[in-house]
Symmetry: C2
Subunit: 379 residues, 2 copies
Amino acid sequence: MSADWITTLETPFLLIEKHKYLRNIKRLYSRIQALGGEVRPHLKTLRSIEAARYLLKQSDSPATVSTLAEAEAFAAPGYTNLLYAVGIAPHKLPRVAALMAKGVNLHILLDSEPQASAVAEYSRAYGLKFSVFIEVDCDGHRGGLPPHSDALLTLARIIEASGSTLTGLLAHAGESYSCRTDEAILAAARAECAAIKTAGNRLRAQGYACPVLSVGATPTAHFADDLTGINEVRAGVFTTFDLVMKNVGVCRLEDIALSVVATIIGHNREKGWIFIDAGWMALSRDRGTAAQSQDYAYGQVCSLNGDPYENLLVTTTNQEHGIIALPDSSAYAVDDFPVGSRVRILPNHACATAAMHQRYQVLSEDSLGQEVWSRIVGW
Amino acid sequence: MSADWITTLETPFLLIEKHKYLRNIKRLYSRIQALGGEVRPHLKTLRSIEAARYLLKQSDSPATVSTLAEAEAFAAPGYTNLLYAVGIAPHKLPRVAALMAKGVNLHILLDSEPQASAVAEYSRAYGLKFSVFIEVDCDGHRGGLPPHSDALLTLARIIEASGSTLTGLLAHAGESYSCRTDEAILAAARAECAAIKTAGNRLRAQGYACPVLSVGATPTAHFADDLTGINEVRAGVFTTFDLVMKNVGVCRLEDIALSVVATIIGHNREKGWIFIDAGWMALSRDRGTAAQSQDYAYGQVCSLNGDPYENLLVTTTNQEHGIIALPDSSAYAVDDFPVGSRVRILPNHACATAAMHQRYQVLSEDSLGQEVWSRIVGW
C-alpha cells in the first residue's frame, strides 16, 4: 500500500525511499570501516544538504564534490572538509580562495604542470596555502598521471615549493563501471589501490609527506578486500543505486532507492503503447544500460509500490512523454494501466535522473511520511 | 573577437547569440505568414519569459507549452492563449481550472474516452467550459487518433455535450525528425495537413465547429508549401536550432544560436584527449545525432568565436568532465587547447541542453552586451 501523498502529489516527481537510502549507506560504511578505511562520499548524485546529513556525521567529515557551487552550498551549513574532484581550472582559484578564507578546507585536484604552476603562482601572489591532490591514472579511463610518471614528482615539487601542500593522491577506477563479473571488479579495486600506493611510495621516498591516499568508485568500493595503506574511499551513486549498478552487479533491483512517479496519460491500443507524463525531462536522456548485459531502455516500470513489472520498460522518451511499449506476448495489457493511474520508473543512472529535478520527495522510514529534499543547482 | 564577459564568466555556461535567435524567428514567422498561417510557438525549448517576448507580440498571441508549470509561469506576465500540448491527466484539471479562473484561455489536449469523460465530468461538476483540442495521429509517431477513427466523433460528442468546447485538432509530424531528404520532409508536411483536414472535415460534417486546425514540428514548419485550411503552425526548437536539425536539413551549422562555453582543464597527451569542464550536466546526455547521417557524439567543438573545429567533437561525457578526443590525423594538437583556454560546444538537441541550465547568458545583437534569461523549472 502506498502512502497517500504518493498517489496525489503532482506528477512527474522524483521519489526517494529513505529506508533503502539509509540501508545502502550503512552497507558501504560498515564494509569500508571494517577494512580500516574512511568513506569520503561523493555528494554529486543528489547534491542535497538534507541528503548529506546521513553521510556526514561531523562538520569536518570528509566529502567530495563535483562543482564549486556544491562546495559553496555545503560550506554554508558548516561542512569544512571538501574535495573538489574535478581538475582545477586556473580561473576558479579565486572562488577556492574565498572558501578557504571562510575556514573551509577545500582540497583541489590537478594532474598537469600548467595547473600546478597556476596554483603556485596564486599561492605566492596571495600568500595562500592550497591543499592539493594529484590525480593518478589507474586504468586509462579519464585523467591523471601514470603512477610511474616523472611528472608526478615535478608537480609535487612545484606545489610544495610555492608553499602549498600536497595533501594526497586521488585515483578513480572509472573502468570498473564496465566490469561484467565480480572478479573483474575485485581486480579493478586491487589495481586502483596498487596504482595509488606505487605513486604514494615514490613521492614519500622523495620526502613528500603526501599523507592521504584516496581511491574509489562505487563498484570498487563495494568489492575492495584490502585497504592497507589506503586512507579513504570515495563513492557517490551507492546511496541510491540504479539500473547501471544493478547490471554491474553491485546492487539488486530492490536496493534502488530512487525512482520517478508518473501518471498514465493515454494509450495507442493498436501498437500496445502506454503513454506516461514522464519523458526525458523527468527521467533524463541517460542510456547507461544500452551497452550492458540487460538494456533497460529509459527505465524499468514498477507498480506504485515499487514491484517491477516483468519486461516492462520505458522504451521511448520525448520531452514530456514517455512511451511504455508492451512487448509481444506480454503478461500485461494496455487496460492494466488505465488513464490516471500511476507507475514508478527505476532509472538507468541515478545521477542523471536526479539532475533533472530541483526537489526530491522522500518517503520516510515508516513508509508513510513525506520529506522534501532540495537539490543544489548550477556551477 | 569575443565579448569580454564570455572570456571571464564562470564556466560552463549556456550562451545564446541573440542575432541568430532573432534571425531564426524571423525566418519561420515570415514563411508561415506568407503561407497565410499563424505561428503558435512551442515555448518548451527555452521555457523563458525573456525569450518568449520575441515570439509573442501580444498578450493573446498563441503559444504552446509542455507543462502546467510553464502555463502558470507564462500566465503570470499576462499571456492568455496557451495550449498545453501533452495529453491531459485527469488529476491536473484543478490546476487548469485555476488558470482559467484567472482569465487564461488554457487549451487542453486529449485523445481518449477516459480523458474526455474526466473533462466532461469536471466540466459538469464545476460548471466549467474547457477549451479542448483532440490529437490526430498523422504518422504513427506517438499519440492521437487516426483521422478516420470513429472515436474522434465520440470524443467530440462527449466534450460538447458536457458544455465544454472542441476548439480544434492538433497534429504533430514527429516522424519528420527522422527524414533524410527535403522531399521526405515536404511529404511529411503535406501528410500532416492532409490528416488534420480529413479529421476536421469529418467533424464539421457532423456539425462541430472545431474552428482551429493546428499542425507542426520544426522540420515540417520549414517545408510546408500549402497551409490552405490550416490555422496555425507549431514549432519549438527553430529559435535556436541544433545539430539534429542541421542533420535533418532544416538549418546550417552557423544558424545554431545556442552553445555551451567550457574551459580546458587538462589533457591526456598519450591518448590525444582534451578535458573540458562541461560534462553531461552542462551538455545533457542527449545523443540525438547518433542515428543520423553525421554523428556529433556529445557536440561539435568550436572556437570561442563560434567557428567549428573540423572533426572535433566532445566524444565522451562524465557528470562534470567532457573529453574531446583528437581523431587520428587531426589538423589539431593537444597544445592548441591550453589549460585555461575556452571553447564552445554546439549541442545535439537544444531542448535537452537548455534543460540542464537555470539561466542563459545572451550575447546581445551588438555582439558585446550581456543579457541573462531565466528558465522556468519543474512541472
